[in-house]
Symmetry: C2
Subunit: 406 residues, 2 copies
């Protein structure tokens, strides 16, 4: 399908132009250019409670992202009016025209965040401003609308509080929240969507490692590339995910748990599956270094990644650790492993917080990442999980934890 | 959001495993592994005609992809059963769970093709096997199901014949057909979809240039990259489209009709907007050459691109033209333009067939592409449109034209 070539005015949606024109006349004194589009107003939310509350899924039967709570939060946006009042309604299907642009051109972005319950029964979010800031960056990159992040956090908090019965205060349990924005305009013309839907659904989830850490084996992928400078690999777009499945399946076919994404002839290590990647090593001078790839446009700006870096700078640097956001390569890791300098490696993300890596299959060799055979996670991996969970579950009071008003 | 790291068996959807297990027991003698999944069977189609036929949009009011016919064709697929019987129904909204994977991870691919009406009133498709082959490549790349292309063409032909009243035999008018496949599994786990929907909608369209060719001005994009080696830029995935809008808007802001995608330090010319790009030039030896970028994984395998290359090899090569699929750069074009050797340039795709280019803004200069100020298209551009339309509308009998049985 081809975008029709037209002069610049065509990039403004005709519907938007007409709406702006009508509006400018109906409100008489104001010109179209001074019409301020509505942003999100949490006070205007309408709530319709379900009349058929779901039974809770037993804790030991929870599967990530498979069961959902009673309600959902949704907000429509139009290019002529901006954000319409939010609605909390029973969880329900979306009814969309088959020509809606989300189905054809991947006008979609999302966030992953969690609500936790502390020992006092208070519901807490973890660094939600980070998620909202990133979602605005993602949506802007694909010509979807942006929004007031603080207002959206208020709505998400209200929604999470309503679904409080789905959240267990048992360590490792939480309510996974999935803010999602999709383009809803019904046209096959390739252009900026004139309408969108922002919605949040919630899935109760259990601990990533119910019986303790399990280190995984990775396969380095050299035939497919996840992201590229000048591309969109640093944004949380749907577009970045579907193309990742095949390399994951290929790795799985050969018995590996996940694939490791490399970049370029240098074989820079970038991400693991859909997580950021960290390694702890001793450099050639014997100094300990915690390394992750820099935000050069090919790396997702992970909230967990950022939290690990902050905590490491605060708590590991004083112990002599160097904390590095720098490029590093598979040859560098292989050399460090060979020389006994690779201490540990782990993925980092919202679902698992940290996920320890046992080894990496690369060019026919298995690069061992520092764990003894009887060991499932290294010291830094364990410390990070403890530090971050203590903040998430409110055991440690910290500015990162957002207590939901009750 | 993070893929849960699990051993290989987890990559098989639990629902699929359970379904396969149940099936293997319900059919007793067969083991799950010998269950052959159903492919598409055109004989099993069910047809429900609309009771409220739409009024035809007047020809001069047709906008690409904005209005649709009375019906749609849809086929569901499940990992346990394969393709379920096709249904032609009134055009209607899709009702999908908000957790459906199409909304989150861009499990979606599509095709663009057209039905034409010849002077005898017969409906014709143009090279539909090409579209079906490409769609299967696209779907396989994102772990969506593949299908029997010939069977699908039969169904599309039946659908197009039903919508025959929306097709005008006036030159330039046609029925744009949009086969679309989406992943419908309701889970936030990142994995291969266990269910999918393949549907076709149809939009009556008018001529791309109602009053004759209009050459466009392009802006070369140097800050964003459409596709890269090891990526998915050669597949017709939704994922390739949303990220293209911003560079188009940026170009439009500065008064250009479209953006031209370059790649790498060499500034290879790749595609124009969402079309393949062709240039006609005289090389330094004075020989005429028609050039387009090779299918190196970063270029969409355009059906129009392929048709132009075939016709050029058949009809231009005997006149002394060299027909080249090779890499070429902006510096090469700029040099050829400066030396008066750049003859013409055009985009190629289903919507416009060919779209002439007047000039390209590159590094602060305007590279003129060979047209005189009073000229809107070059000789090759005009010839190609004539040759291809003659086949599409059945004026010339050709194996590329598929006559829909009546």
């Amino acid at each position: 399908m081809l975008r029709q070539l037209r002069p610049r005015s065509a990039f403004k949606q005709p519907s938007r132009l007409i709406a702006a024109w009508e509006r400018s006349y109906s409100i008489q004194a104001e010109s179209a250019s001074t019409v301020k589009l509505q942003d999100i107003d949490p006070a205007k939310v309408s709530v319709t409670k379900t009349t058929t509350p779901k039974e809770l899924v037993p804790q030991n039967e929870l599967v990530f992202g498979r069961s959902f709570t009673d309600h959902m939060l949704s907000l429509e946006w139009t290019a002529s009016e901006g954000w319409l009042p939010a609605r909390i309604t029973p969880y329900q299907n979306l009814s969309l025209d088959p020509a809606s642009c989300v189905f054809h051109y991947a006008f979609e972005c999302f966030e992953g965040m969690k609500a936790y319950k502390d020992k006092q029964g208070k519901v807490r979010l973890f660094r939600p401003t980070k998620n909202m800031a990133r979602m605005n960056k993602s949506s802007a990159r694909i010509a979807l609308p942006t929004f007031d992040g603080a207002a959206m956090i208020q709505l998400i908090a209200q929604f999470a509080a309503m679904e409080e019965r789905f959240i267990s205060s048992t360590r490792g349990y939480s309510l996974y929240l999935r803010p999602t924005m999709i383009g809803t305009q019904r046209t096959l013309g390739v252009g900026p969507p004139g309408s969108a839907l922002l919605y949040v659904i919630a899935s109760p989830v259990g601990p990533y490692y119910p019986t303790g850490f399990k280190a995984v084996s990775l396969e380095a992928t050299d035939y497919a590339v996840r992201a590229w400078p000048g591309g969109v690999g640093d944004k949380k777009l749907g577009a970045n995910y579907a193309p990742c499945i095949l390399p994951q399946l290929e790795a799985a076919k050969r018995g590996f748990h996940q694939n490791l994404w490399l970049f370029g002839e240098e074989e820079f290590v970038t991400e693991v599956g859909t997580m950021n990647m960290f390694v702890a090593l001793k450099n050639k001078q014997g100094q300990k270094e915690l390394v992750t790839a820099p935000l050069d446009g090919t790396i997702l700006e992970g909230v967990t990644r950022d939290s690990i870096l902050s905590l490491a700078r605060e708590r590991l640097a004083p112990e002599g650790w160097i904390i590095s956001e720098r490029k590093y390569t598979m040859p560098e890791l292989a050399e460090a492993a060979k020389e006994g300098r690779l201490l540990e490696a782990f993925g980092a993300g919202t679902a698992a917080v940290v996920s320890p890596v046992r080894n990496i299959s690369w060019k026919g060799n298995l690069v061992e990442c520092g764990l003894r055979p009887d060991q499932e996670a290294g010291e830094i991996t364990r410390k990070m999980l403890g530090w971050i969970e203590a903040i998430q579950y409110g055991d440690e009071e910290h500015e990162w934890s957002y207590v939901v008003p009750q």
